[in-house]
């Protein structure tokens, strides 16, 4: 069982502490995505699992075997790089078979495994070409072929789609998902693109400044973010945050108020929230509606209107100076500069305490637990 375990893993480059105590369990066959902003340490973490970076302290195990001191080739991993890292002087066949050849695989077996990888990735007709004769998507497929031909226990992907154009990215993403289903191997994937993370992952690991901020399924992270950082990072467009004050709290929720809307009960656990606490209300733009039928209403002057056809993206500012965004239905006519009220349901709201930690939501869509 190719599980991966990280226990209190740290990494420093000189005096700079990059990875600050990572504990993580990845089960066999899981597709785990590391996401986070640039510089959060997600690629460093992947490279540490690969053995391309030493770890400063802690323990990394692959298949229940500590691999801290093992070279990359002995870890049972294969890696796909953002830049593909194909050897330019070799043909596709030589690139894919490189690892097998230097490990003295018999020629007949090498040939059949290269052909099998080419068949899986539908690149039989590319085998005798050089990387310079391939498109970006084809190169990425060759890089994946080089990984799968060795039957690794764990696949590591370092932003593999970043160099592809938007359309190709969608196709290749689907191919990677299919590959995971077909091979059933453990895959660890690094990206800064949360759409990739949401669509591919069984489990997402959100990192910030070398620390894990939350681990969970994509829908769990979307509907139950643990903190302001995850709430802001997962979801596009970004979640709206507004300063509010707690009026009272009880088992059925916390009543809040602000300059921009009337008092309203938000169904969250009472927790440690007390009357007078400063809180942050979070509401996703897609939960906004272009009428006043929601539980909370917010009015503002439209500062940006983008009609996308099936929906309209708006950005507005309230009289008290709070900016908010909404993704509303595409049939409502909205004009720039117009004063307009949007509304949203109390059930869709998230509350965060002064430390930025989420107050547990009482009502979460069933799909999260499905």
């Amino acid at each position: 069982m190719a599980n991966v375990q990280l226990r209190d893993v740290h990494k420093s480059f000189g005096a700079t502490h990059i990875i600050k105590g990572i504990d993580l369990e990845i089960a066999h066959g899981e597709f785990v995505v590391f996401v986070g902003p640039s510089g959060c340490g997600k690629s460093t973490l992947l490279r540490m699992i690969a053995g391309l970076e030493d770890i400063t302290s802690g323990e990394i195990s692959i298949k229940d075997r500590v691999v801290n001191d093992l070279p990359p080739k002995d870890r049972g991993i294969a890696m796909v790089f953002q830049s593909y890292a194909l050897f330019p002087h070799m043909t596709v066949r030589q690139n894919v078979g490189f690892g097998l050849k230097i490990n003295n695989t018999p020629p007949a077996e090498l040939e059949s495994r290269v052909n099998e990888a080419a068949r899986i990735l539908k690149m039989e007709n590319l085998l005798d070409r050089k990387p310079s004769q391939l498109s970006g998507g084809q190169r990425q497929r060759v890089a994946i072929g080089r990984a799968i031909v060795r039957n690794p226990e764990v696949f590591l992907f370092d932003e593999p789609l970043s160099n592809l154009d938007a359309a190709l990215r969608v196709n290749t993403r689907a191919e990677i998902a299919k590959l995971h289903n077909d091979l059933g191997a453990t895959m660890i994937y690094v990206t800064h693109d949360q759409v990739e993370a949401m669509t591919l992952a069984d489990k997402i690991v959100v990192l910030e400044a070398g620390k894990i901020r939350q681990v969970g399924s994509p829908l769990e992270l979307y509907h139950k973010p643990n903190n302001l950082f995850v709430a802001g990072f997962i979801g596009s467009p970004k979640m709206n945050f507004m300063e509010v004050e707690a009026v009272s709290s009880s088992a059925s929720g916390v009543i809040i108020k602000s300059a921009d809307f009337t008092e309203q009960r938000i169904p969250v656990a009472k927790g440690n929230v007390k009357a007078g606490d400063k809180l942050t209300l979070g509401i996703r733009p897609e939960n906004m509606r272009a009428d006043t039928k929601g539980d909370l209403k917010i009015s503002g002057k439209m500062e940006l209107v983008e009609h996308l056809g099936h929906e309209t993206f708006v950005e507005a500012k309230t009289k008290s100076g709070v900016s908010f965004t909404g993704l509303i239905d595409g049939e409502t006519l909205v004009k720039l500069g117009q004063d307009m009220a949007l509304s949203f349901k109390a059930n869709d709201c998230h509350l965060f305490d002064a430390a930025g930690e989420a107050v547990h939501r009482l009502k979460v869509p069933e799909i999260v637990h499905a």
Binding site: M79, F81, A85, F98
Partner: protein
């Protein structure tokens, strides 16, 4: 529209400066080759006119026969080509593998040693020639005659001290630094050893810089004069540049000198012409200007 189109068309006049520069470089060669075919008296009288560059008058290969009679030209050429080729091959291997170590491997003192090494770029051979001579005069060697001491009058004394140099290491270091490090990492993950990464991944990509280093090393070695003069008293090991002395006796036979010079220029031209495409590509890619 027609005006703007014609103004975009490259003018044939832009080649004029290139042609003039080419002439400046080619004429000495032309003069040397033409002179080598003429008797010395005609050669000297032709220098007053354009005839010096033309195959006119009494043309023959007599100077070549005379040159071979005066000096062991074949032996000198063999010595030079053997010493130069061996040194170039050794230098390419030693300099590229040390540059590989400087760029891709992590070891204590790496940057300091590279800095010290590159500092030697500014030290000319004339400065170290005497200490080097004293050193090689005491070094042991195991050859056909068993263990001997002192390398004077040998091939190795002309090869080994020059089998690595700071300039070649510098060229390889600069080139390797520009190679994507993911190639190395991908090879490491595939299970390649450092040695396999060196000769299966890095060196096949280092063609242009290898050609540049080879040409520069070839020229430096082939043109060596001072060092061979100091360390070879026996004709048997002398290279072509020392051979020139045979032609500068009391009465200088300029025709024979020109014939000898033509003969010893041929290997250089062949070597350069074979590698010139890679040489130019390398200069363009490393940003090093000659």
């Amino acid at each position: 529209m027609s005006t703007s189109t014609s103004s975009l068309r490259p003018s044939r006049w832009r080649y004029l400066p290139l042609v003039l520069v080419a002439i400046v470089f080619i004429f000495p060669l032309e003069f040397m080759i033409m002179s080598s075919l003429k008797p010395s008296q005609q050669l000297l009288s032709d220098t007053n006119s354009f005839r010096a560059f033309l195959p006119v008058g009494s043309i023959s290969l007599d100077n070549y026969y005379a040159a071979f009679a005066r000096a062991p030209v074949g032996l000198f050429l063999f010595n030079s080509v053997f010493i130069t080729a061996t040194t170039v091959v050794l230098a390419l291997f030693l300099c590229s593998i040390s540059a590989f170590s400087f760029v891709f491997l992590q070891w204590r003192g790496r940057d300091t040693i590279l800095t010290i090494l590159l500092t030697t770029l500014v030290i000319p051979i004339e400065i170290i020639a005497v200490p080097l001579l004293l050193l090689v005069n005491q070094l042991p060697w195991v050859g056909l005659h068993g263990l001997t001491f002192g390398w004077l009058n040998s091939y190795q004394v002309q090869i080994i001290p020059f089998s690595a140099d700071a300039l070649s290491v510098f060229l390889f270091v600069q080139y390797f630094k520009d190679l994507p490090k993911e190639l190395i990492e991908a090879a490491r993950i595939e299970g390649a050893s450092w040695w396999q990464i060196y000769y299966k991944v890095i060196m096949p990509l280092a063609g242009p810089v290898t050609a540049t280093a080879a040409i520069l090393k070839f020229l430096a070695m082939y043109n060596q004069f001072l060092w061979p003069l100091m360390v070879t008293q026996a004709e048997q090991y002398r290279p072509v540049m020392i051979g020139l002395q045979y032609f500068f006796q009391l009465n200088i036979a300029w025709g024979e000198v020109m014939a000898y010079l033509t003969l010893i220029t041929v290997p250089v031209l062949i070597f350069y012409l074979v590698l010139q495409r890679a040489f130019i590509a390398s200069i363009a890619s490393t940003g090093i200007k000659g």
